[in-house]
Symmetry: C2
Subunit: 452 residues, 2 copies
């Protein structure tokens, strides 16, 4: 039996991120100013992002060097291991080979710090003293807190109040890393105060939290804003995951026939798959790339490819993406990170072009897979991560039927240590599935902005 | 800069555990039957342990082969990485080199599965269908659940009721791995029922939970009992940690001048330090070995070296160890794993012989170190683990004064993902220190059994 974990030496960490922009099979339609309908220029973004990140957002350079200071921090947990899931294979009795790229080993426990650390670095380089952001259940907020902490700048996080109250663990993690975390709506912003005036007990929403964070960042000369997914520069930073995996497959003398992962905003999945998409687009390799999402929020499988706002409050630029409409409110599934109404434009373009396929999964099926995984491979995955696990199991079971010896790579985005209440729900039979009625979608996409 | 993580290939995992018994500088005094005062024979232990583990408990063989099936499971996370804590060194501005052996990467998040997996294996080999055990906050219970799960046998865990109710996360982890976890006292045993008859709202204690687990195991022909620390065979299984570290230091071309770690029952610390103690006892290397413990439960630093019961209820054999008396109830510090009144006999012997030194630490100092660690090295340590971190920082600061370039190894026993409430307590200024008055100790050791 070959080694079940393939480690890359630190000296072999890729020295540059991969920018997919120049390789895309069709031009990426630019973000638009919602007031004018005109493409955004760097100056539109300058109040809230540092210039280096704006340049990355629009860059057509295929490789962007990873700064030494970022690399030093990456080395706290990178390269992350590529594991072979021998015990799961045996349990399934499949001829498939299942690998997973394990991003759960980072300090915040997910892929998020790959970009949080980079964003904190570029902000510090431009003299920014404080980064303001929003967070739902706290995955992104904790990663950004960590990134700011290691570069000695302040993090100010607006956390959706209901999560702030009910899910204290990731908030505590932020505080361990020295961040200031406020429940949103707060009385610290105009946006927050106006909501509180109407409803002092508002549970908050990601839309409100975004409004608060953007407002604070725009008002404060020493502060900028940061986003944890969707944008090109975020996906860029995540490509370190797939680039490492490529090298690890070379060591293992193998190559994936299938790359699978979960899509919330798209940065985790883009991170693991874009380097393999590059090989596919260049005609060097043929790999099936499968994006998974919940049936309760089926953006890629049932959304419309159209310009839409990134947020409920209609504050952000318009992005061309698969969307369920920016007013769409998904059912309260346990994979909180997969409840976004849209997806990253780069990823959406590749889906629209047929390079990437998408699949929606029911959460009971996903948790069944998560428990099977925990009982064979040991490590307990995040509910988001378990979507990729489910699809990999399904593909491996197909191989069992056909006898095909396919090689499957899972983008294993994070651990489930802070999600055990969701497992409890599943194990005690309280988990329900949501199938979204078509009229709900029709309704939600009815007021998309009038831009193609 | 050299690599900050030293990985061992899986093929280099040590193939045998190290048994320190034959190398001890004085004979280890045997466990005694409390009724007769006579040394225990294998037959005394046979009702509750499988024979293979009883043999290991008493073995004088220096090396005991790790079975292939155990090795296959170890490979889910082993070899664990040896990290160089460059960022902490820089923060402290110390000439010391600080390494840590990271056992937090295991599925249950600590060193505990090193023995849980082995114990589950030997039980299965002898046809045992069910292992019964007790757990306090759930660290051991979750590890044993994982071990039983991978070998397809049942785990039945009696968890101290107050933890069962207040700290659901590790209980949920047990359930994810398929274990049955009951709050103790329960109505499933004589011991439990008699406590409940007196006090239906009893919060439970580790002593009561031990009684319940032992009773269940002794009554049930298909069940055995398992212990997560203190005993020789448990320490034996943990030596994989130090044996790997020895090989990793060879790769790093370095060697520790100091090995430091935390002691609860002693298995974590023995695991990391015994292979280095072996080198020291053989005169090949001179390493300072520092055991740390809380001032609230200063077993090694202020206890008496004497035979005592392992449990409050006086059910276990008598063990020769440093003890604060088996009726001692430590203050409710956050390092719940370090609240045991005694310590492993092998470790105690080495302390009594001056081979290992011991140090007691205040919990505020420990949490200060834990936060400094989290903000430099990223990973958030368990409160138990942070004891070793504190002592390493203290030693590194001494080096800063003297200019000595010492090499320090920390036994990093686990992560703090389930202990964030304790960090909250510290960060909000609610943590208090406990200095144990001497009369409390005098009182607690007054009724030690009359055996030298």
């Amino acid at each position: 039996m070959d080694d079940s974990k393939i480690f890359l030496p630190e000296s072999e960490i890729p020295q540059a991120w991969y920018n997919i922009n120049p390789d895309l099979p069709a031009p990426l339609q630019p973000p638009l100013n919602p007031a004018t309908g005109e493409p955004l220029g760097p100056e539109d973004l300058a109040p809230i992002f540092p210039m280096a990140l704006i340049e990355q957002e629009m860059s057509m350079e295929p490789w962007i060097d990873i700064p030494d200071d970022v690399m030093d921090v990456y080395k706290l947990w990178r390269p992350s291991p590529l594991h072979r899931a021998y015990r799961l294979e045996e349990h399934l009795d499949t001829p498939a080979r299942i690998y997973y790229k394990n991003e759960s080993v980072s300090p915040p426990g997910s892929h998020k710090p790959n970009t949080a650390v980079a964003q904190a670095y570029y902000n510090r380089e431009e003299g920014v003293r404080r980064i303001v952001t929003e967070t739902g259940a706290g995955q992104w907020g904790s990663a950004l807190s960590f990134g700011c902490c290691v570069f000695g700048i302040e993090a100010e996080v607006y956390m959706v109040r209901i999560s702030y109250d009910q899910k204290p663990y990731r908030r505590l993690l932020m505080q361990v890393w020295g961040a200031d975390c406020y429940p949103s709506p707060s009385d610290r912003t105009e946006a927050g105060r106006s909501i509180l005036a109407e409803d002092p007990d508002s549970p908050g929403s990601l839309g409100i939290a975004i409004s608060e964070a953007v407002e604070k960042a725009a008002q404060d000369d020493e502060a900028k804003y940061a986003l944890g997914s969707v944008l090109n520069h975020v996906l860029l930073h995540q490509t370190i995951v797939g680039l490492e995996a490529l090298k690890q497959f070379e060591i293992a003398d193998d190559y994936p026939d299938i790359v699978v992962g979960n899509v919330g905003g798209g940065s985790n999945f883009a991170g693991v798959c874009f380097p393999f998409v590059r090989e596919k687009l260049a005609g060097r390799r043929d790999t099936q790339i499968i994006a998974t999402e919940p049936t309760a929020c089926p953006t890629l499988t049932r959304g419309i490819y159209h310009y839409d706002f990134g947020d409920t409050a209609e504050l952000t630029p318009l992005l061309k993406m698969y969307t369920l409409g920016h007013k769409f409110i998904p059912a309260p599934i346990h994979a909180g990170g997969l409840r976004y109404h849209g997806d990253a434009p780069q990823l959406c373009l590749l889906v629209s072009q047929g390079v990437i396929e998408a699949r929606a999964l029911h959460q009971t099926d996903v948790f069944e897979a998560a428990v099977m995984w925990s009982r064979t491979e040991g490590h307990v995955p995040a509910p988001e991560t378990a979507h990729g696990v489910r699809a990999a199991i399904d593909e491996a079971l197909k191989c069992k039927e056909t006898g095909e010896e396919k090689c499957i790579l899972i983008g294993y985005s994070g651990h489930g240590h802070f999600d055990l209440a969701a497992y409890d729900n599943y194990l005690t039979g309280h988990l329900v599935d949501y199938e979204l009625p078509q009229e709900k979608i029709d309704e939600a996409v009815a007021d998309l902005p009038d831009v193609q």
